[in-house]
């Protein structure tokens, strides 16, 4: 009998289903992988199990009995532990204290010596080496993860859920992690591994359940299947007819990245590792891949937000932009449409007119000798609103605060600002996220228009459909490097899926 059975689980947010009639069954003593792209619903499903969300319909059976967890406490008490992608650790406290945090079975006066021994025992048993007296803030990512696992094990769990555990680990640490999971399996624990990395599933999981667009598309034994089949299930769409019909051939090289690496403080593994990439004029280069594989760092390194821990060189045409500040790159013709428009691209409390000025406020015709010229600003805003069909709030027109605009209109404001005649190269990151159908179509058409005008576009998107619809060439990012680059016509679901899941060898993308 299955240890855990989630039956017909559905949940929706703001009218969109995140999980739709999903079934999942996990046995004791098994490592069960939950595979899917971004937005497939994997984390949502586990959050339901762990009591963070409540399912709208469906049943959970735990140890044979029907169960409903309305908080993480209840789930933990029932024997379910979860290690999230972003650790829930208190940096200022010791490993021991973090493990003991919220531990209900401990007496009021913590017998730290005894508990310390128990922790060391546990860590020995499962090969999770930690120093109980070290401050968590001083630990490496791999060590922090071990603390998180110990935290769960300390509470007598039967099932351990790990959410994308290897996203932050070096290959060596990953091996160590899977050794630990093997130990747990042997000792009778059940493990659910949320991941998009097929390479890890094939070697380490017993069974895999694939989710796509909120639905469960299959549960297989890994012994009975292979990476190609899984990748087809994970990506699973027919190739969309390209909105981009090829048209103009790509021109001269426009943006050149050479051996660019981006390091993060406190982490051994760079977020971006030795990336060499070229985008040409009249070309849309799509960057596909599950989010979290370095795409954000790529965008920020190109645009100049990240400068300090960046190695390698960046050129726009003949101009070297390595290490230059954002403003200089903007003036040289770079435009950036960030994925998080409300935090990174807009000042939502300000109006449309003011937001359009974010780059050019200090130049004519908008200001002269530091004083604004309202007429020019108004004119500019009116023109932008007409060109981009931006619908404002009520009758306020260009004076509408941006926070009152819909997602689509907000994105149009960003585009109106970024896509200027001077912009030669556009980095667009998740440009249609959160937009409705018509806004999405508008944005995509705008990007195609730029290609036709001879500009270069770097399109970063976790939406494969979008990548396939718009790109001339496709680069896939995995684990901070380019897993491969293909022409659009050579792209198939299989090879894209394999690269996204880390199953292809590392290749360099050279023009």
């Amino acid at each position: 009998m299955a240890l855990l059975s989630m039956e017909d689980i559905s949940i929706s947010f703001y009218g969109v289903y995140a999980n739709e009639h999903v079934n999942l069954e996990v046995e004791a003593g098994e490592v069960h992988a939950l595979l899917g792209e971004n937005g497939a619903g994997k984390t949502t499903l586990m959050n339901i199990l762990f009591g963070i969300y409540q399912a709208e319909s469906g049943r959970i059976r735990w140890n044979g009995k029907e169960a409903r967890f309305s908080s993480p406490e209840e789930a933990i008490r029932a024997g379910i532990g979860m290690v999230h992608q972003h650790f829930s650790l208190v940096n200022a406290k010791t490993v021991l204290d973090n493990i003991l945090l919220g531990y209900e079975k401990a007496p009021f006066f913590l017998p730290r010596k005894k508990l310390r021994r128990q922790v060391l025992e546990l860590s020995d048993r499962y090969g999770l080496k930690v120093d109980p007296d070290a401050l968590v803030g001083d630990l490496s990512i791999g060590e922090k993860q071990r603390v998180e696992i110990l935290k769960a094990l300390f509470r007598d769990i039967q099932l351990l859920i790990l959410d994308e555990p290897t996203a932050v680990l070096t290959p060596g640490e990953t091996d160590q992690l899977f050794q630990v999971l093997r130990q747990l399996k042997q000792k009778g624990f059940a493990v659910i591994l949320i991941t998009h990395r097929m390479s890890e599933i094939m070697g380490n999981a017993d069974r895999v359940t694939v989710l796509r667009d909120g639905k469960c598309v299959g549960t297989l034994r890994t012994a009975d299947t292979d990476a190609q089949a899984l990748s087809r299930l994970m990506v699973g769409r027919d190739l969309t007819p390209a909105a981009n019909d090829g048209g103009e051939a790509a021109g001269a090289p426009l943006l050149k990245m050479e051996h660019v690496s981006v390091y993060r403080s406190g982490r051994k593994r760079p977020a971006l590792e030795d990336v060499t990439l070229t985008v040409r004029e009249s070309e849309i280069l799509g960057v596909a891949g599950v989010e979290g594989n370095g795409q954000k760092e790529l965008a920020e390194a190109i645009v100049g937000i990240r400068r300090r821990r960046v190695k390698g060189r960046i050129h726009l045409k003949d101009q070297e932009l390595t290490g230059t500040p954002v403003l200089e790159r903007t003036r040289s013709g770079m435009a950036y449409v960030p994925d998080d428009r409300q935090h990174d691209a807009l000042v939502t409390a300000m109006d449309i007119g003011d937001n359009l000025l974010l780059h050019d406020y200090s130049r004519a015709p908008f200001s002269r000798r530091r004083v604004f010229r309202r007429a020019a600003i108004q004119q500019n805003a009116q023109a932008a609103m007409e060109d981009y069909r931006i619908r404002s709030a009520g009758s306020l027109g260009a004076k509408s605060p941006v926070r009152l605009l819909s997602g689509g209109n907000q994105q149009k404001v960003v585009l109106a600002r970024e896509i200027t005649p001077e912009a030669r190269f556009i980095v667009a990151s998740q440009p249609t996220r959160g937009l409705d159908v018509s806004a999405t179509a508008f944005v995509r058409e705008k990007l195609l228009e730029q290609k036709r005008l001879g500009k270069g576009v770097l399109l970063i998107s976790a939406d494969l459909e979008e990548i396939l619809a718009l790109s001339d060439r496709i680069a896939v990012m995995y684990n901070g490097s380019i897993a491969g680059v293909l022409d659009r016509k050579d792209a198939t679901m299989e090879n894209l899926g394999l690269m996204m899941g880390g199953m292809a060898g590392r290749k360099e993308a050279i023009a």
């Binding site: 200022a92 406290k93 945090l101 009021f108």
Partner: protein
């Protein structure tokens, strides 16, 4: 004070005076520490103390019992911090704005009510807590008179200091309460009810701050005057920082401020050469320097003054 500055008598008296001046700060500092370690910054501690001073005085005056007075003072302080907690913990509003508004409210309220009391024309004064000398301990040189020949509230404060120290260091509750201020998400994930505990810590901060204010009236002066706390609530904030958010640190910081105060008074009487104000500046300068030095490894709770919204950004 024509005592020789180097005589034991001088230092003993100074230390004893310092302890007395430090007591309100110790109470308020411990209360603020509890609150801040759970992530709630209460700039309104000034208002808390002022309400503690007034309500303890009024209650003591009308009932004739100093202990009833103390309880009412603590309740008065708790009232202010409860409003702060509701607005900031449940309401997620800006903690600084709330604190400052409450200070003004408390100032107005206490002055208003005291004026009404004065209008009756009676002479407003209460008794003061008597000094209780502990048998053997009070004979110790230097420390004896300072620490063991004080009033009951001072002893309670010192006991509370030990209790709070033990709770935070050795118990499960202390671990939970201090984790909330560092990483409320982690505490929430560990099953700790963040908001409830924050409200509790707010309440405790108010009770202790109220006691600190009550000390001024019931143990020191036996009367009330407008704005008598004169900024001690803000000093308590400094004491928490200087004391690096630990109970013993807060005690030492309170002692430092108390010492500065006591020295000020004696110096003022003794000599006119150095303006006392230079000495008064010192503890604040030290606090700033401490902030600078510890900025690398600041002990400030990571999530201080950040409203916690589950699942939010």
């Amino acid at each position: 004070m024509s005592d020789n500055m180097l005589s034991l008598a001088f230092w003993t008296a100074l230390l004893a005076s310092a302890v007395r001046m430090a007591m309100p700060l110790l109470y308020a500092g411990l209360g603020e520490m509890i609150s801040e370690r759970s992530g709630v910054l209460n700039i309104g501690m000034e208002g808390v103390m002022l309400c503690g001073a007034f309500f303890s005085f009024a209650a003591a005056y009308y009932t004739g019992s100093l202990w009833v007075g103390l309880l009412c003072g603590m309740a008065g302080g708790a009232m202010i911090s409860l409003i702060h907690g509701l607005l900031c913990v449940r309401g997620k509003q800006n903690q600084t704005v709330s604190g400052l508004a409450l200070n003004m409210l408390a100032l107005g309220l206490t002055s208003y009510l005291y004026k009404l009391m004065c209008n009756t024309g009676a002479h407003l004064q209460t008794a003061v807590l008597p000094k209780v000398s502990l048998p053997l301990l009070s004979r110790l040189p230097l420390l004896g008179e300072a620490f063991f020949s004080q009033d009951a509230m001072a002893y309670i404060a010192l006991l509370l200091l030990i209790v709070i120290f033990v709770i935070y260091r050795f118990t499960r509750a202390g671990l939970s309460l201090s984790a909330i201020g560092e990483n409320p998400m982690a505490a929430d994930a560990a099953g700790i009810q963040v908001e409830k505990r924050q409200m509790l810590c707010c309440l405790l901060g108010g009770l202790l701050g109220g006691a600190g204010g009550a000390y001024l009236t019931l143990a020191q002066l036996g009367l009330f005057s407008d704005n008598m706390t004169a900024g001690r609530g803000y000093i308590a904030l400094a004491a928490v920082i200087l004391g690096r958010y630990s109970p013993t640190g807060v005690f030492l910081a309170a002692m430092l401020f108390g010492l500065a105060n006591a020295a000020q008074i004696r110096l003022q009487a003794a000599t006119n050469a150095i303006p006392v104000q230079a000495l008064a500046m010192l503890p604040y300068l030290i606090t700033l320097v401490a902030l600078l030095l510890s900025s690398g490894r600041s002990r400030e709770p990571e999530a201080l003054a950040k409203p916690y919204i589950r699942g939010g950004r």
